[in-house]
Symmetry: C2
Subunit: 350 residues, 2 copies
Amino acid sequence: MTETGIGTSRSTPATLHDVAREAGVSLATASRSLNGSTRKVNDEYRKRVLDAAARLDYSPNLSAQAVARGTTTTVALLVADIADPYFSSIAAGVVAEADHERLIVTMAATERDPERELELVRTLRGQRPRVMILAGSRPTSDPTEGALGEELAAYERSGGRVVLISRNEFDFRTVIVENTAGAEALARELVGIGYRRFAVITGGEGLRTAADRVEGFRAGLAAAGGTLDDEHVVRAAFTRDGGYDGMRQLIESGLDGIELVFAANDVMAVGALSAVRDAGLTPGTDVAVAGFDDIPTVRDVTPALTTVRVPLEELGRRALRLALGDESASSEGAVRTEVVLRESTPGITR
Amino acid sequence: MTETGIGTSRSTPATLHDVAREAGVSLATASRSLNGSTRKVNDEYRKRVLDAAARLDYSPNLSAQAVARGTTTTVALLVADIADPYFSSIAAGVVAEADHERLIVTMAATERDPERELELVRTLRGQRPRVMILAGSRPTSDPTEGALGEELAAYERSGGRVVLISRNEFDFRTVIVENTAGAEALARELVGIGYRRFAVITGGEGLRTAADRVEGFRAGLAAAGGTLDDEHVVRAAFTRDGGYDGMRQLIESGLDGIELVFAANDVMAVGALSAVRDAGLTPGTDVAVAGFDDIPTVRDVTPALTTVRVPLEELGRRALRLALGDESASSEGAVRTEVVLRESTPGITR
DNA sequence: GTGAATCGAGATAGCGCTTTCCCGCTGATA
DNA sequence: TATCAGCGGGAAAGCGCTATCTCGATTCAC
């Protein structure tokens, strides 16, 4: 095992006490000079403290500050899966905004398990974060149903701020995404370019986001004149492989005249695309595919994927701003989505 | 602004003191029952404390524990860009392993800016994390050169553990990836299936990881009999768009008989693929493309991308284990890579 | 039966900070 | 000259915990 070469003598980090002594001032003065205080401190003294701090390479102990101040500079972020581009984009937004506010982000992954989620909220509460952001909806039929709400409420009662991203299940601040409206608009446009017979691949039982999107899609079809039979709605995991499986399932049952398959999110759609290809068919031509989210990847798959753009980073940004009480963040209403037609839905001339 | 409906009376979280009082025992006993201690505590007392804690919904203040114990349960993770699949996969690994060790991960993004990186290290040091993991290499020609090393060394001196992922620039513990060997193997295999004339798209000036991969690729070609002219090595940003630009550049200068373009990482390769298509050419057929990393996406692009697999999640896991002093993690040597041939390099019969 | 261990609960001294509170000082006011 | 606000530095009381220390009550050996 390699040792660092730059010096080996083990020492504890300099404390404020050390700085004060080195500067020849009191602890109070040192504290006041280093971390803004309402009280002024003589320039001469301040300079001495700053110099001493630099000399000792002092770095304030955030835990100690937290204890003394009774408040932290931490934001806790809970996502289903960090490697999923949907969540990593949101996370990037949260981190960027947090950095801007000089806050520190701690991150955890629920792996889509409600029990884990509850557990994590409990643990993270110990950090006394200023804000807790939860992204990714849960099954509505959830054994821990009330418990999470209780826990979050308790957290808010003790001064924290909860913000949910695109999961309107509790009565907390929420960054609302136009899931329903976006899917509806998508459906209309697809009918507009000639598609009539649709199928849908959606997430597991009762995932709220998925449900909203499917519902919106249905509504759009109903209004515009497309058909979606119930047996053409397949459920699968809310992941790339889920999308693959769902599409394979549809193909195996004969495709049955289906012209376009709408997957409730892009990672599923991308999986679906691959399933189409693996079945020896040509996506776009033999069967069109559309997704939802507009994750970065979908520009680069072939055919490029038609989808509904959700400004994911912005979601993360907004969540934090909302938590911090930024009025504009809340007054902006639901986050706008936008249909993006690409080659995966070339259209049908009838 | 919505208020939570579940109860509004604002209160501070229960403290250990509250629990002790509620249970009718001393602070010390409460502490001992709730958080493991070497000392035993009477079952009767322990139960009373546990009950009281549950009743008050007590959650220990981690900051206070950190101050009292003089050690935290935090891991700090620095990556270049959270939304980049390379880093988000690594992050997922770190978080998973951390969770397993009951540690908490705080995350920050350097955005590939050395100044920012240094700044972040300074800030995060205030957290007194047990471990600091840095992923993503920096330009070798870096204005802050020594400063980062100094800072990290100081951190280690004060008892922390630094682990670098795939950036062998300092003398700290490092998770080494077989960048050179992997690229060399790739080159050999590509020559083996008939390619002779190559081009390379690599990252900005002096990025270590990129440099190693290119060097390995060169060595492989030299050994197996492929050619790579210096004017066919283009530099671009280490991102999807960089890859796109790099490929466009190559195409604009006439492709010049190039049969295969190797991009130093997958996100660049994916961008390159799109550039080929946008130029009206067929990737795989008109020009073959290969990447490095095997990020999840590349299975789903068309043609599927030939690449060198790096077990990214495992990298993150290993980094943490290494930091925690897991012997096996360090004795395993460099992380193995594996060439994965896919349709983007169908081969040439000569 | 006595002294030495042993046990385990409670009191308390910190941990590294912030923030009162106190107090000597200066300068304005009368 | 006496009075009284500021002003600003220092002492010290916490913040919510852990860990050492104290000390009475048991237990045990001989």
